[in-house]
């Protein structure tokens, strides 16, 4: 044997292997898993990993989209095409339905991200889902930095950061009592750059707005918001056509674009590697409201 007879995985192979192990543990230990799928890049990567985990068998669980009603049309089209291609069952929990029948009220700032929690929890209860895959990553935000891979939620869907199960080796504990469920985060250890490198390596197709395109935008609180049904410029806000792309996709009324010439996945990887601003800092108005915005939402049962 040669002298360099040491077998090492690249960091992307390592992350992929860990995620596949996590996804398979869930299928083995739970009755009714579901995967949260928005068409956003993290959920796309998570679904890609699920496809690989069970090949040549099909993905053995449905996907759930918590729909704010403020969607980018190209993301909805991507979602439907993906579900069709993989033969998945899609469940939709609609924030709009809740607003229409008065169970939820529109917020003064028009943002619907925080309104997703109740429809999500109701869908979990109605379908008796006991494991819910989410695309959250620990590098996104400091409340997420302390999240477990298997994160137990009580019957109110709440996260108790003070009372989390220790997580040792790769021995995940999925035990839960009736009414409780477990949120599972297979991408816990991935960074934004890892996700993009993996998208490049695996040639994963994404909704087109992740790449540079011309769009009518206006600036608000240092973010570029798209002009459209869900976000209209105020009097002093100037509309311009700029070459932009999105680093995250969410509620159109509070997800900002960034100026970018990156038209290919290689361009995006180079841009992400050189960036000096976190993706949530750059693009999410709701996370900039307070230092603990995410912590508060997570405790209530948010993703």
């Amino acid at each position: 044997m040669s002298t360099h007879d040491t077998r090492r995985l690249t960091h992307l192979q390592w992350l992929e292997s860990e995620s596949i192990h996590i996804i398979r543990e869930v299928i083995a230990e739970f009755e009714r898993p579901v995967l949260l799928f928005s068409g956003g890049k993290d959920s796309v990567v998570m679904l890609h990993l699920a496809v690989k985990a069970f090949w040549p068998a099909p993905v053995p669980f449905p996907v759930l989209h918590v729909d704010t009603g403020h969607n980018f049309p190209e993301v909805l089209a991507y979602r439907d095409a993906t579900v069709e291609r993989l033969g998945l069952r899609l469940e939709v929990a609609s924030v709009q339905d809740y607003i229409d029948d008065g169970r939820l009220r529109e917020r003064a700032d028009g943002t619907r991200n925080p309104l997703q929690t109740q429809p999500l929890l109701d869908a979990i209860e109605a379908h008796k889902f006991d494991a819910v895959f989410g695309g959250g990553r620990r590098d996104e935000e400091k409340a997420r930095a302390k999240e477990r891979v298997f994160s137990l939620r009580d019957e109110f869907g709440q996260w108790d950061p003070r009372n989390q199960r220790p997580e040792l080796w790769n021995l995940y504990n999925g035990r839960h009592r009736p009414g409780e469920h477990v949120r599972v985060f297979p991408l816990s250890n991935w960074t934004e750059l890892d996700v993009w490198q993996y998208i490049g390596q695996e040639k994963i197709e994404l909704p087109p707005l992740y790449y540079a395109h011309d769009r009518e935008v206006f600036e608000r609180d240092g973010m570029l918001l798209a002009v459209g049904e869900f976000a209209q410029p105020k009097e002093h806000e100037v509309v311009q056509t700029r070459t932009v792309r999105y680093r995250t996709v969410g509620d159109m009324s509070c997800t900002g674009a960034v100026d970018s010439p990156a038209v290919t996945v290689e361009d995006v990887i180079a841009e992400v590697a050189a960036t000096r601003v976190t993706e949530r800092g750059a693009t999410r108005a709701d996370d900039r409201m307070s230092e603990a915005a995410m912590e508060d939402r997570k405790k209530e049962g948010y993703f």
Binding site: L9, H11, W14, K52, K146, L168, N173, D194, T278, A292
Partner: protein
Amino acid sequence: MSTTLLRLATAGSVDDGKSTLVGRLLFDSKSVLADQFDAVERVSRDRGMATADLALLTDGLRSEREQGITIDVAYRYFATAERAFILADCPGHVQYTRNTVTGASTADVVVLLVDVRKGLQEQTSRHLAVSSLLRVPHVVVVVNKIDLVDYDQATYEGVEAQVQAAAQRLGLTDVTTVPVSALAGDNVVTKSDRTPWYEGPSLLEHLEQLSPAGEPQSEPLRFPVQLVIRPQSAAEDRFRDYRGYAGQIASGLVRPGDPVTVLPSGRTSTVEAIDTADGELAEAHAPQSVTLRLTDDIDISRGDLVVTSRSVPGLTQDIDGTVAWLADHRLTPRTKVLLKHGTRTVQAMVVAIGGRLDLDTARLTPAESLELNDIGHVSLRLAAPIPAEEYLHSRATGAFLLIDPQDGGTLAAGMVGDALLASVEPLDA
């Protein structure tokens, strides 16, 4: 681009500069972005500090800030051109056994901090003992605040000698020390010219060179079966009769043609193929997730362990092991628990408690029960036999969890065998 990955755990108490060190690693490796740094500068100013306090980069949850302590392990990420790092940042004071055991369980290297002015403290010895128990392959002791002793070589060497003596006593073979000022940045990312007498690498250079845990080519194949993949009617015709065993290789490597034994049944077969969604592999090794096909149609299900027939572990229903007790209520003999080992969960009973480890003296003392954060020796009787191997020889197949059968909580981290006794010998040194 092809980089490798290294997992590290940092442990220490509030005043030893751990947060500053972690902040420095993140900041100097450019893993801290402008908006995060702006927030730190703003808060530092509000608190009346002249410069940005890098320790704030690792500030935790609001519920923790309110109490002025960090309670839980936080995971951080940084990368260099050669390597991606996953850092488990383990707070020291509260729940320190729970946190350091958690962090150390997955770590390739534990990074401990010592204040050069204080030398080796009790808590550092405890962290060294935990690193030894958990068989962490490498330990780095950062001798911090070297600026406060004017970069004095003799002071550093005194601490280095204390650390090496403690390491030797605990049976730790790979312990490196580095003189550092986390605050000033000396020897963290780049070598400092203020310590010309120090010939080793900077902390980050050292972390870039270390080999991760495990040498697959020198370990026997251990493959816990997670699930059986049988597409049946859902698949294309060519997969109608497909039957594969999915899992993550825990140790060793596997090739088509290898003779294997399935435990606990003891049935033997031969590896026909190693499948992945990307195609068949000519070889796979730990920690790859793959699907194995065997030449014989034998009964295999989740919880079984596929091993190389050249090295077959024995089965046992009686386990002696070391446990770190992580539950609020005490452990007493006759307690019924669930034991999770690999992908198998079996009922078990704690038959006897063999003693409690005094981490300060590294000695086993008699004990009737174990309390929260105690580390002790227990004897377990299992309802079914499992292929348990000594943790000392196999981290991947010697580890287990104890789980509360009623509320499902994780009660303990366990290691098969006398890891405890091995690590505290000699008892009368």
